[in-house]
């Protein structure tokens, strides 16, 4: 459940919910975190997720085993990379999460590199509306 709170915060940090971020978050949960489809659905029920704040999420990841916390950090960074654009509140959330996980600078850099690799695999070659397809 902490994954979904952390992922939601990163996905909406620019005030919108782009589809590309939504889809990559779901794929990551099942493919990398190993959550079942049923577990993903249950975690998003209002009774479960509605009560959690971002501070609860930070406290939750703080108490997590290191490996699991790094996977969450990597996934959250992957969401930030999904649209090829970074925003101030995305950076803030990444900084808060990494600090809550008590990461070293090297840990964070490693998570960031893994996130970039995964984002490049998930990211379909869709050109942006602004450049009208020249990037495809």
């Amino acid at each position: 459940m902490l994954w979904f709170v952390a992922a939601r915060a990163m996905a909406v940090a620019d005030g919108t919910v782009p589809a590309v971020k939504e889809a990559s978050a779901g794929l990551y949960a099942q493919a990398i975190l190993g959550l079942s489809e049923e577990a993903c659905r249950a975690a998003k029920s209002p009774e479960q997720i509605g009560k959690l704040t971002l501070v609860d999420c930070l406290a939750g990841v703080h108490g997590m085993p290191r490996e699991q916390a790094e996977k969450i950090m990597t996934g959250v960074l992957m969401i930030a990379f999904a649209d090829g654009c970074m925003e101030p509140l995305e950076v803030r959330w990444a900084s808060m999460l990494a600090s809550a996980c008590e990461m070293t600078d090297e840990d964070f850099q490693r998570c960031c590199a893994s996130a970039r690799v995964i984002a490049s695999m998930f990211n379909p070659s869709v050109p942006s509306i602004e450049d009208g397809g020249e990037a495809s």
Binding site: V20, C112, P124
Partner: protein, 282 residues
């Protein structure tokens, strides 16, 4: 459907005659030649997608259908429900063109999808006009369907239901938010919490992994990502774009820090004046 029978797609004739005509043709084939029905529906979806993309982003119109639909979806121009229906028609239409046998109930289901999408499409091309189509009426089948055909239709119908249920479950599992959630409220709540955390960091000091370091590392990775073939920028463009994004973030942090310092200065001044005034009175 006989020639004198009204078509479910008549309502859209005044908005887009060609698409309406294709819908009418698809209806006529649904019982006699379901593959042709799907072929017409696929063409109908392609025309709708191209018209939408011409209105919103004309330079994307040369892409193939799946790329157009994905672009429209990714940039929030195609709601999930409509996207599901359009993808289903595209997928089944492609299968029909490549020789897959299509049961009548599958074609009928896609016809129903096309009818639902059509109303939304008309309101999009008419920029928000309320379009109220009449309820979908399944085109009547041959008067005497044999028992075996009926049995086959029921089995196909049950299978379609299972596929729909499965698809919905997959979607619900994958998406970050459920369809019942009040998305704008939830987004606002999360953004407010993030802004709160940002203010705490400004006032109480940066946390263990500070935001500027995070921005530098993310910008370096972003540069490499932008160079990736799927995003396709060349090395110089990627570097320029990553630097631009980093600079914007840095400027934002500096601005907020300056605002916070200004607030502190004003507060200190206020207290000094208050102390001085108390001193004079004393």
């Amino acid at each position: 459907m006989s020639e004198d029978h009204q078509s479910n797609f008549d309502f859209m004739d005044r908005y887009d005659h060609r698409v309406s005509h294709l819908g009418g043709q698809a209806e006529q084939y649904v019982h006699s030649d379901p593959e042709s029905c799907l072929f017409k529906l696929r063409l109908m979806v392609e025309m709708m997608a191209r018209r939408l993309v011409e209105l919103q982003a004309p330079r994307l119109a040369d892409l193939d259908l799946i790329a157009i639909l994905r672009s429209l979806e990714q940039y929030g121009m195609l709601p999930k429900k409509q996207a599901d229906g359009m993808h289903a028609i595209r997928r089944d239409g492609n299968a029909a063109v490549h020789g897959s046998e299509t049961p009548v109930p599958t074609a009928m289901r896609r016809l129903r999808d096309a009818h639902r999408i059509s109303a939304w499409y008309c309101s999009m091309i008419q920029r928000g006009v309320k379009v109220r189509p009449s309820q979908f009426v399944p085109p009547p089948g041959p008067a005497q369907a044999d028992a075996d055909a009926l049995k086959m239709h029921q089995a196909a119908e049950a299978l379609e239901d299972q596929i729909d249920t499965r698809r919905r479950a997959t979607r619900e599992g994958l998406l970050l938010f459920t369809e019942d959630e009040d998305l704008p409220t939830e987004v606002q709540r999360l953004v407010s919490e993030l802004e709160g955390l940002d203010r705490v960091a400004q006032a109480a000091g940066e946390p263990l992994v500070d935001a500027e370091f995070v921005a530098v590392v993310m910008a370096m990775e972003m540069e490499q990502l932008l160079e990736h073939p799927t995003l396709g920028l060349d090395t110089r463009e990627a570097k320029r774009e990553a630097e631009k994004q980093y600079q914007q973030i840095k400027d934002g942090f500096e601005l907020r820090e300056a605002m916070y310092a200004e607030e502190r200065r004003a507060l200190v001044l206020y207290h000094q004046r208050e102390r001085q005034s108390r001193h004079k009175q004393g």
